[in-house]
C-alpha cells in the first residue's frame, strides 16, 4: 500500500474531531498488521472502492465511543444506544469522506465509500485475505482510536 494514502485519513480525523472539541493529543507509532486486527470493542467498518480499493476500520473501546458520542451530542452518553452508534458511524463517514476529497484534490485519486457497519465485541478479530492493515493509533482526550487501513491499487 502506498503510504501517501494514509495522511489524508489522519488529517481528516484530526480536523473532524476538532469540530467537536476532541483533540488528538498524540499520534502513536505506525505498524503493519498482517491482514488481521484485534478490536478494542467498537469498530466502524467502511469499504473503499474506486482507483483504490479496500477497507478502513475505525476502532476504539466502548468507553471511547461513549465519550466521543457525548462530545458530538453535547450531552453525556452512558450506554450504547442508537444515537451513539449513529454518531460514531457518521464520524467514520465524515473522516473517510474528507480523506476522499483530499486524495482527489491532491493526488487525483478518486474513490467512493460504502455506508458504515458497526461491529461490537471485545474479543473481535477482523481479517481480510489479501491486504495487510496499516494501523495508526491516535490518542485523543476521549481515549485511543486506531485507524486501520487496508488498501490496494
Amino acid at each position: 500500500m502506498n503510504i501517501q494514502y494514509l495522511n489524508p485519513f489522519i488529517q481528516g480525523f484530526c480536523e473532524i474531531l476538532a469540530e467537536f472539541g476532541v483533540i488528538v493529543e498524540k499520534r502513536g507509532q505506525l505498524s503493519i498488521a498482517s491482514n488481521l486486527i484485534k478490536s478494542d470493542g467498537f469498530a466502524v467498518l467502511i469499504g473503499i472502492n474506486g482507483q483504490i480499493k479496500g477497507n478502513v476500520i475505525y476502532d476504539m473501546s466502548r468507553q471511547t465511543a461513549l465519550d466521543l458520542a457525548s462530545k458530538m451530542y453535547g450531552t453525556e452518553m452512558k450506554e450504547i444506544t442508537e444515537e451513539v452508534t449513529d454518531s460514531i458511524s457518521e464520524l467514520g463517514n465524515m473522516v473517510s469522506g474528507k480523506a476522499s476529497g483530499t486524495l482527489h484534490s491532491e493526488l487525483d485519486i478518486f474513490f467512493n465509500i460504502t455506508p458504515p457497519n458497526i461491529v461490537f465485541g471485545e474479543q473481535t478479530i477482523v481479517t481480510n485475505s489479501t491486504i495487510d492493515f496499516i494501523v495508526i493509533p491516535l490518542d485523543t482526550n476521549c481515549g485511543r482510536v486506531k485507524i486501520n487501513l487496508a488498501i490496494k491499487e
Binding site: 463517514n93 460504502t114 485475505s129
Partner: protein, 158 residues
Amino acid sequence: MNNDLKPILNMIPQLAEGVFSDYSQEIRIISRKNVIYPINQPIISFLVHFFGEFSGVIILSIGENSLVRLANSIATDKFDIKINEVQGLATSIFSEICNNIAGRVAAQISSQLKKTCNLLSPLLIYYATDILPDSESASAYGITLTTTQGDIGVRIIC
C-alpha cells in the same frame, strides 16, 4: 421489506445449496427461517460489500462448531484431510464458500434488478457480539439456513 429484494432473498437457499453441492454431497439445507441469525455462541462472519448501481452488504455468519463441521465435510471429500478446529484451512474454506454464495447473489441482483452489482474484498469477523448497519440509510433482511452441518445466517443490508 424492499419488494425488489424479496425474490432474491427467496432464492438464497437455492443459491447456497448450489454452492454446497459443488463442494460436498454431505452438506444440504434442511430448512429456512426468516429470522436474523442469533448471536448466542462464538460466531464467525463473512462480510462483503456490494458496489455499483446496487450497493449494500451481505453478511454470512456461522457458529464455530458448525464451521468446523462444514469445513471438515469439504476437506474430507476434496482433500482427504480432517479438520477439528477453527484454523487457517477451515476459515479459508468458509471464506471461499461465502464468496461463491455472495457472487451468485450479486449475479441475481444484476440480472433480476437490472443493476450493476460487484463485490469488494471481503472481511472475516471473528467473535463479534453484533454487527449493525448505519440505521439512517439501511434496512437489514435476514434468513437462517439450517444445514446438515449447522445453522448459517445470511443477512443483506441495503
